[in-house]
Symmetry: C2
Subunit: 320 residues, 2 copies
């Protein structure tokens, strides 16, 4: 029955914006709407805003009777429980029953997953990972997230939290992480990690850099990227340093699941060869001989803004 | 058809001994035979010896018509190809077509996997992991191997080599590993790693130890264990050190697949609390808050000699 309905709704919930889209069976976005997540004072306001946006986009394709299901990717969301659990980047705290409330409000089947997993599903369904059965998608945003696919299936683990690769320790006793531990991968290999490295370099070195014109507390990974593109040596070294650590970590991840490819995604991945060259070199240097030159390192082929919403939509086909 | 035959053959191929057993549907070993792997000068001699041993044990249950299939766990064996590929601990080099040759000689379906995966399947089918859908089995022998189970299925990865957790880097630039890299987990956390740590401690410290009575080049993990059981402080510290590193590594592995349990198996795991206490403490210290006190650390419940042969047998039911 429900499989015959020609559309799904994909929702990408971010800390700042939430995007809602109606997607057809071929992955085409037919209608979409966006609203500010942070304008919703209470979680319940957010639920009502999602409901409103969904009704608007469904209206453009003939209403709810045309929709098979709804998929939503959200920070710290759990596939098994449908809850958002203690998300650091959302204004509402505690455990939020996202799946249950959306399913009440929309009267449609809803499937929930976290944002990194949604992006991995998007990439597998419509992007660079089409046809791959074993890959790891690394999302390099403010933090570092991962979606791990083994044998064509996303890995959720026993509790829905598998793929927290941002919290693998890459430097024992290293940088303090928001999780309370030290040396976590995301304290180095993420947009905020790049900014942190730049500030460390500026503070501990005396060589010239375009970045010295900026207030250190305001430096972003974008500033570092722009300086590096202008040939700034210090900024280029920041990317070398970041890529080196990420390559080391990726070689360890390969030991785990022997993927055919690793896909880098997110704002920082757009730095292109500045990041990819050192990551690739460092990964190859650290791989066991059996894997040398065998694991592709590729960039996401989806638009940054579309991967998560398309992945969430792909999940919507399976919502129950 | 074939599912009706009441027995399988499980084969555990080690560098020293090979054990062949007929196993019934309930995991009971009905007949078994052992021969010395290292007595076989050529790989083809080994194939013929396996054939002979299989015919002997099959004879005790009514012959090959009673056998559904054959499973074999072997060092560096690949589930997908059925080949042994460049095994360091076997007398024959290169790529050995184990599955193909055994299937020729026995005229039965044969399934091949590596020894750590066979042990994980044994544990899942008959041991401490019965009923678990997400666990990691760590085998602590001469090296460190792993069998990773996600959603009730063993992870082979894109090429059959998933689970090479002995080669995750636990100390960048650390001990030289047989694989050509430095700082691999198995250079610290394995029987040989324990012996290496003991020798390092003896060489760099001056405190008394029972181990000083031994020739340093001949110290084994068993010597360290026995000294520790007699209260030797240095030997106990060797286990603390080993457990500490292993706990750090396990906390990283949890980030990957969020298992409900980690099972330690193999000679070194028999050191009991000497090893388990520091591993557990270190793992808990390094876990993300969401996993604290949630991941069981357990000892294999199978006899050392039986896990691999039972796991291989369990694989035999699915041989095609």
């Amino acid at each position: 029955m429900s499989q015959c309905k020609p559309y799904v709704i994909g929702i990408d919930m971010g800390g700042t914006n939430t995007e809602v889209a109606v997607v057809d069976t071929r992955g085409k976005i037919t209608a979409s709407a966006t609203f500010k997540t942070c304008d919703c004072l209470e979680f319940e306001d957010f639920v009502l805003s999602v409901g409103k946006a969904c009704r608007r986009v469904m209206g453009e394709v003939g209403g709810p009777q045309m929709i098979t299901g709804v998929g939503i990717g959200a920070p710290n969301a759990n596939f098994y429980t449908g809850n958002i659990e203690n998300a650091a980047n959302l204004p509402w705290k505690g455990v939020l029953p996202l799946g249950e409330r959306l399913s009440d409000v929309l009267d449609l089947p809803v499937a929930v997953t976290n944002d990194a997993n949604a992006a991995a599903i998007g990439e597998m369904t419509y992007g660079a990972a089409r046809g791959l059965r074993d890959f790891i998608m690394i999302t390099l945003g403010t933090g570092l997230g991962a979606g791990i696919v083994i044998n064509g299936e996303l890995v959720y683990g026993s509790d829905g939290y598998a793929g927290e690769l941002g919290h693998v320790k890459i430097r024992r006793g290293g940088r303090k992480c928001g999780c309370g531990q030290n040396g976590c991968l995301e304290t180095y290999c993420s947009a905020s990690g790049v900014a942190r490295t730049a500030v460390e370099f500026l503070n501990t070195r005396s060589d010239d850099s375009l970045l010295r014109q900026s207030d250190p507390s305001a430096i972003t990974s974008k500033d570092v990227y722009e300086a590096a593109m202008k040939g700034d040596a210090l900024a280029k070294e920041v990317f070398e340093f970041t890529g080196n650590l990420l390559g080391e970590a990726l070689a360890d991840f390969v030991c785990f699941s022997a993927p055919e490819a690793i896909i880098l995604f997110g704002g920082l991945a757009q730095a292109g060869n500045l990041l990819f060259d050192p990551v690739k070199r460092s990964m190859e240097e650290n791989l066991l001989p059996i894997w040398k030159d065998k694991v592709s390192l590729v960039s996401s082929s989806l638009k940054l803004s579309e991967a998560a919403v398309l992945g969430a939509a792909a999940l919507g086909w399976k919502a129950k």
